[in-house]
Amino acid sequence: MNLTTRYLGLELRNPFIVGASPFSDDIASCAALEEAGAAAIVLRSLFAEQIELEQRALVHHTESASESYAEATSYFPNYEDYPLGPDPYLQRIQTLKKQLRIPVIASLNGSHLGSWVSWAKQFEEAGADAIELNNYHLATDPQINGEKVEGEILHIVRTVVASVKIPVAVKLSPFHASLSHFALALEQSGAAGLVLFNRFYQPDFDIEELDVLPQLKLSDSSELLLRLRWLSIISPHAKMSLACSGGVHHAEDAIKAILAGAHGVQVVSALLKNGPAHLTSLRDGLEHWMADHDYDSVEEFRGAMNLKRCPDPEAHERANYIRILQSWRI
């Protein structure tokens, strides 16, 4: 049975990709995931903005108390002569490339165009097989309209794609006014793939202390439905690769994502909950289902339930929504 799939031009032995997660921090975990059947691994996202903020904070905190008092003109060692090691993230890419046979995809969230390009080039030099641009952006400024937000993303994608030779995927949030149009624009800008969707941090409130509690909860299968809908809508038009990210916990979830048109299925929460071995059961589940349903290859059923090929396209669309609302009234 042929579980292989092509994602971002990379030949994957099955559709299961370990999504951006802390797993990539630990070589042993990555090896276990590969052993369990992972077809590719996405590194934890590098947040350039965070790095820059941390650098600024370090400089600020080490300098801010200096040259105030004759006995202590500084409070930290001077590292002018210290041979700085390679950047840990780039080192991680290199190590994983050495240790693993499966493709290694670096993930990046830049803070400005310069940092997107600079990091992407360094990822490529470090040996990454592809880059996932993690477009995590929360539009809080009422002065900036959607067109401008999307224009900036497209500009970044065009620039990054032009600066590297390896394929570039774009991980999006679901909150775009016309996602299928935007997906097409991304493809035209050179994106080799689209990852649907980013999961935002979901701050909660402490109602006793009136505090905001930043947190990120693990996903569950209910989040899959949003992905299925948009994969189904985008896949008929897309020539680029599509990946489902968020809500794949069981083999059935993965099968649905592929039916909706995904070339790859990213898994994180299920692995964090169940451990690397869960990947084997996902892969086996897919294999059994294909065997039970006489599919010889993934490609055979990929997109079979998308908007173009599913038996009841209306079920994806507005009519269905109205029907469901009406059913609630009864």
Binding site: V59, Y69, A70, E71, A72, S74, E80, D81, L84, S115
Partner: protein, 1200 residues
């Protein structure tokens, strides 16, 4: 070796500490270190170079090892020398004194060693971190050679000469130069290349040294005990080495000259070839005298000066040879004082040399000695001229002083304070800044740019004031076409800049400007508005001196570039643009190159931010051209006199002048001879350094007083009082009904001291009371100080007049209640957000009226006792903490001694009271004997009884016992002796003494303010530094875990021990202080103290302490022996098991974050070990808490 090219010799711009360290590092194998100002930077450089893997001359990385004290260093270097390793160290002041016993040994054993000393005062009537020769002169008898360097260039060169001569002569050297004036002066010098070092170092000498090593392969014994039959001869056996030494040094100097062209002699003469008057001097003052001599010779006078390089052994022939035959009078200048001596050491040597040479001068009365420059007192050409003038008198004054006014013994010479010898071709620039605003750093950059990128010579010297935060910095920069020899401050500058508009009218910025100078001001106003903001004397000064004034809103430009309040880059750019030292474009390119070099490794965004600031700077620069149409000038700014109204006489006469910066003008008679100063003076300083202060909303406040507790400066306080008290309150004075069952119908006020607050905002961070509809608004919010100032000043004055509550009615065991007690430590010079001072303030609230403090040298002795004003104060009865600092290393023993004396007096008083009972009256005596002084009420009652007793004793005045008891009666009220210091003292240098004192049954309380580094000297590692943190002396990350001082003290069983963190659990802190005080025996409290050396914004100190506790990094516990006596487990664990991973705590602090940047693998490895260690230690404490004391011996700390 950042700026020192090792080969070939090139110019570099650096200070003497770096220059000396560069040579010492390359020439040694073992470097033992310990921090002490002003030498620490030499050790720090060596540690950093070793961590970076820099090799020495033989391709090996020297082993740099920190010891627990200079005494420890001395032992280690002695051992290392016996082990045939090339060894060095750096020290100063008390540190050198601690090495003395070993220096005798090392010299006695004829070991080659060079100790590099940035010479510093010795603490006597007071401590001084500044420069003079008291320390090295205390080593005259050790047998070490004493070699003096006069400048940064010489300090570097002599570091090499001392090292080479020491190996050749087989004798140790103390190589010294002036602390601060030379150690911290940046100069453009020629470096010594590796190849010069190689050619200077004689491998045969090294081989000979190594051949004498202590080794079982060719065993010898050293350190034998010698008896009267041979000891004397043994001492004389070394004479030949000392006889030979001067020639060895001279030949080494000659060899050095042949390689570098820089020729030195044991004694160097400068001046008229037929000089009749000669000054003899060592170190930096030589250049000042040379400059004066040149001027005097040019004026037709026959004068000269001799620099003494090799002070000990003092070579008579060379000295006499250097002295012109024509000389008729000599003044010997010593930068030290030996009270009661016939003269200071250099004078005595000169006199002895002249006598030995049978010079008629010796008995002529025309060779005189004088003192100058103690504690870095300025030594100017005007003073040097006065010394020469003294020699023209028929009978020149002997044992004179110069640079002060001695109105007690009349020793001082008059001098012309305005005498100026600045060379016209030298460009002089003065920059006034605020500590940490980047001004000094930018100036250091500018000096490097000019010194290293142009043919010009450069000099920089930096003056800081005595406060740790909000301090003023003054940078003195000179640039010129020839080497700059002017080791004194600039008074007539061509260019003056001020980075703080707040200084205008308060600081004499324009006093530095010469006529026609250029002035650059950071001003948020337009030129016209700026002019209107100037006080009249500024406006007059600008017009009279024809100053060209430029303004720029550097804050706005920096803010826009993302640099916050760091205006350094903007002002530096303006400096180059205006000063014309370099062509503008070239200057900008150089500034950018320096930025790239400084920040390139730290992040491109930081580089970009600085570039943006450079580019935006010039656009914002505007000239202030005075326009006659502008508004009438303001009156001269109101002085600060109102604060001194009603102040004690001493404060008005002395303190006020110190605050005004006029301390140099105070005569000797103004100073207390025994170093005993009045307390309660910080309230007069009114520093006004907060841009924002807390503003109170009574409607939201829950009156918890947590803000009052955490405030490091006692600048926010709470009181409750009768409503009637408000009848005379200022209109804007706020109050609200006091929420209290115990005190109904009272009003409550939370009041900020607007001019004493530092604006740290800790109070706002800890405030738990949020506005329910707008939680961003709290009961206190930070708001701009300026608009509130007038009203809050009046409110604060009124607040102070409200009566303090009766202490006997307060529940001192409750945090809220305890904070109504008046703090007897206020407005210290500690950093904004200091984590130490809240503990001290709490202590003074609890027992301040009967408190004696022995304070180890360190941060707490600086903010606690650094002039001009000190923070310990007095209650309305005039009682308050009595405070004393002895040394760094002896504090536990010092406090123990205070306790012994206090107890002795109390015992005597009780004895006398009993014996006089028949005369005094049994009722009074019995009540005094039976009053329970464990409570505030008991203390108050006992004080009343003492007053009563004094009345009775007055009637028994004819009895000597009664008079004695009257003198001792205050001791019938119990006293509390607290021994206070930081972790450097308690964990390291003072540990032996601390351990001993804890082992006794003395009723002393020890408070360790644990910042986990030597904070005061700039953050060097101590045994309290946690694993994985970087600190100076641990720049590669501390490899081992923090010492568990609490556990060590607990082993005694009878010691009360607590670990506290006020920001995490204030109630436990309060409980620990009260229990420690109540315990009749020794007590130890280790208090977690956030510090700027941790590298995070200190207003988050309390939340970071919570994380420290929640991660298990800082478990809270108490061990009270009284529980054991009651049959209970004495150990109480007050914090729960680690709830979150350690990295949640460490991720917030730069001391951990830096290592992740520079060495991520090591950071990760150490973080892993640290996490394991935290869990292991908590498990151990948990077991202690759960196991009856009788079984605790079986609990073991499991290995990591």
């Amino acid at each position: 070796m950042s700026s020192v090219e090792t080969s070939p010799a090139t110019f570099a711009t650096l200070d003497a500490n770096e220059a000396v360290a560069s040579v010492a590092y390359r020439l040694n194998e073992i470097i033992a270190i310990y921090p002490i100002t002003p030498s620490s930077a030499m050790a720090e450089s060596c540690d950093e170079w070793a961590a970076a893997g820099k090799p020495n001359l033989w391709g090996e990385v020297p082993r740099v090892v920190e010891m627990q004290s200079e005494g420890g260093v001395a032992g280690a270097i002695h051992g290392s020398l016996l082990g045939e390793a090339l060894t060095t160290t750096f020290t100063a002041s008390q540190g050198l004194l601690l090495m003395i016993p070993n220096l005798y040994k090392i010299a006695g054993e004829l070991m080659p060693l060079t100790v590099h000393v940035s010479a510093r005062s010795i603490a006597a009537q007071g401590l001084s971190i500044f420069g003079d020769h008291a320390d090295v002169m205390a080593c005259r008898a050790t047998g070490c050679a004493l070699l003096a360097s006069n400048s940064v260039q010489e300090a570097q060169d002599f570091a090499l000469i001392a090292h080479v001569a020491s190996l050749r002569a087989s004798l140790p050297f103390i190589h010294f130069f002036d602390g601060f004036r030379t150690s911290h002066e940046i100069q453009k010098i020629l470096t010594v290349s590796d190849s010069t070092l190689q050619q200077m170092v004689n491998e045969e000498d090294i081989a000979a040294f190594r051949a004498r090593a202590l080794s079982p392969d060719h065993p010898t014994i050293r350190g034998t005990a010698q008896n009267p039959d041979v000891y004397f001869q043994g001492r004389e056996s070394v004479n030949r080495y000392y006889d030979d030494l001067p020639a060895v040094v001279q030949s080494t100097m000659d060899r050095f000259a042949s390689l570098t062209g820089r020729q030195y002699h044991l004694f160097d003469y400068h001046g008229h070839p037929e000089a009749e008057r000669v000054v003899i001097i060592m170190c930096s003052g030589w250049e000042t005298v040379c400059e004066t001599v040149d001027w005097l010779v040019e004026s037709g006078e026959k004068v000269g000066v001799i620099a003494v390089r090799l002070f000990h052994p003092f070579h008579v022939d060379s000295f006499v040879a250097a002295l012109p035959k024509s000389v008729k009078a000599i003044a010997v200048l010593d930068r030290t004082k030996e009270p009661g001596s016939l003269g200071e050491p250099l004078f005595l040597n000169v006199m002895a040399a002249l006598a030995e040479a049978r010079s008629p001068l010796a008995g002529s009365g025309r060779v005189v000695g004088g003192r100058y420059g103690l504690g870095s007192k300025e030594f100017t050409p005007g003073m040097a001229a006065a010394v020469f003038k003294n020699l023209t008198a028929p009978e020149p004054r002997h044992r004179f002083t110069i640079g002060i006014i001695d109105d007690v013994t009349g020793s001082s010479l008059d001098y012309d304070a305005d005498f100026d010898l600045e060379a016209p071709e030298v460009r002089r620039c003065v920059f006034i800044g605020l500590g940490a605003d980047g001004t000094v750093g930018a100036n250091k950059n500018s000096i490097k740019i000019i010194g290293e990128q142009t043919p010009l010579y450069a000099q920089g010297y930096f003056v800081y004031d005595s406060k740790k935060s909000g301090s003023m910095t003054t940078s003195h920069l000179r640039f010129g076409p020839s080497p700059i020899k002017a080791p004194y401050l600039i008074r007539n500058a061509d260019f003056v800049a001020c980075s703080q508009f707040g200084f205008i009218g308060k600081i004499g910025v324009l006093d530095f400007a010469r006529v026609g100078a250029t002035v650059l001001l950071n001003s948020p106003y337009s030129p016209e508005e700026t002019w209107q903001k100037f006080p009249r004397d500024w406006q007059e000064s600008i017009l009279a001196k024809e100053l060209r004034v430029y303004v720029i809103d550097a804050n706005q430009v920096s803010e826009a570039a993302g640099m916050g309040r760091r205006t350094n880059t903007v002002l530096q750019t303006c400096f180059f643009a205006l000063s014309g030292v370099l062509p503008r474009n070239e200057a900008i390119d150089q500034i950018k190159a320096t930025i790239k070099k400084t920040y390139g490794k730290k992040g491109e965004s930081i580089v970009a931010m600085n570039y943006a600031a450079v580019d935006a700077a010039l656009a914002g620069l505007q000239e202030l051209k005075v326009n006659s149409a502008w508004a009438t000038p303001l009156e001269t700014a109101a002085g600060r006199h109102r604060y001194f109204e009603g102040a004690p006489d001493f404060v008005q006469r002395i303190t006020a002048r110190l605050i005004a910066g006029e301390g140099n003008l105070l005569p000797v008679s103004a100073l207390p001879a025994d170093g005993c100063w009045p307390t309660a003076t910080s309230r007069f300083e009114k520093r006004n350094i907060a841009l924002a202060i807390p503003s109170w909303d009574p409607a939201v406040c829950i009156q918890c007083n947590k803000c009052v507790l955490i405030c490091p400066h006692a600048a926010i306080r709470a009181k409750f009082y009768e409503p009637a008290a408000l009848s005379v309150a200022p209109v804007e004075f706020k109050s609200t009904p006091f929420r209290s069952h115990d005190f109904p119908d009272q009003l409550y006020t939370l009041q900020v001291a607007p001019e004493d607050c530092t604006g740290c905002s800790l109070c706002v961070q800890v405030c738990p009371a949020k506005d329910k509809t707008n939680p961003r608004h709290k009961a206190i919010d930070m708001v701009s100080q300026a608009p509130l100032l007038a009203a809050e000043r009046a409110n604060w004055d009124f607040f102070l007049q409200l009566p303090d509550p009766d202490r006997t009615t307060l529940k001192s065991g409750e945090v809220k209640s305890s904070q109504f007690m008046r703090p007897l430590m206020e407005f210290s010079g500690a950093c904004g957000g200091c984590g130490e001072t809240p503990y001290l303030k709490l202590l003074t609230q609890l027992v301040g009226d009967r408190l004696l403090i022995a304070n180890a040298t360190g941060c707490s002795s600086i903010y606690g006792g650094n002039l001009p004003t000190t923070p310990y104060c007095q209650d309305s009865d005039g009682r308050g903490p009595a405070w004393a600092n002895s040394l760094f290393e002896d504090n536990a023993e010092f406090g123990f001694g205070i306790r012994l004396a206090t107890d002795r007096h109390a015992d005597a008083a009780w004895e006398l009271l009993r014996s006089l009972a028949p005369e005094i009256g049994d009722t009074l005596v019995r009540e005094m004997l039976e009053t329970d002084q464990a409570t505030e009420a008991g203390i108050a009652r006992q004080r009343q009884l003492v007053t009563e007793l004094r009345g009775k004793l007055g009637q028994l005045d004819d009895k000597p016992e009664a008079r004695r008891l009257a003198a001792l009666a205050d001791h019938l009220v119990k006293k509390s002796v607290w021994i206070i210091g930081g972790d450097g003292w308690a964990y390291d240098i003072g540990y032996g003494g601390l351990d001993h004192v804890l082992s006794t049954d003395a009723n002393v309380k020890v408070l360790v303010l644990d910042t986990e580094v030597y904070s005061n000297t700039g953050g060097q590692s101590s045994k309290a530094t946690p694993m994985g943190a970087v600190a100076k002396f641990a720049s590669g990350g501390k490899a081992v875990a923090k010492k568990d001082l609490a556990l060590m003290a607990m082993q005694y069983g009878h010691v009360y021990v607590a670990r506290v963190a006020m920001g995490a659990k204030d109630s436990q802190t309060l409980l620990a202080f009260r229990e420690a005080e109540a315990h009749q025996g020794p007590a130890l409290i280790i208090a977690y103290s956030p510090c700027i050396a941790h590298g995070y914004p200190l207003h988050l100190g309390a939340s970071q302490q919570k994380l420290a506790v929640d991660t298990g990094y800082w478990p809270l516990f108490r061990r009270d022996p009284r529980f054991a006596e009651a049959g209970q487990n004495p150990f109480k664990l007050d914090s729960g098991p680690p709830k979150i991973d350690l990295d949640r705590f460490t991720a917030n602090e730069a001391r951990f974050g830096i290592l992740k940047n520079v060495n991520p693998d090591r950071a990760s490895e150490l973080a892993g070990h640290a996490q394991t260690d935290v869990r292991r230690r908590y498990a151990f404490y948990e077991a202690l808490a759960a196991t009856p004391e009788t079984d605790q011996a079986s609990i073991n700390l499991k290995p990591v």
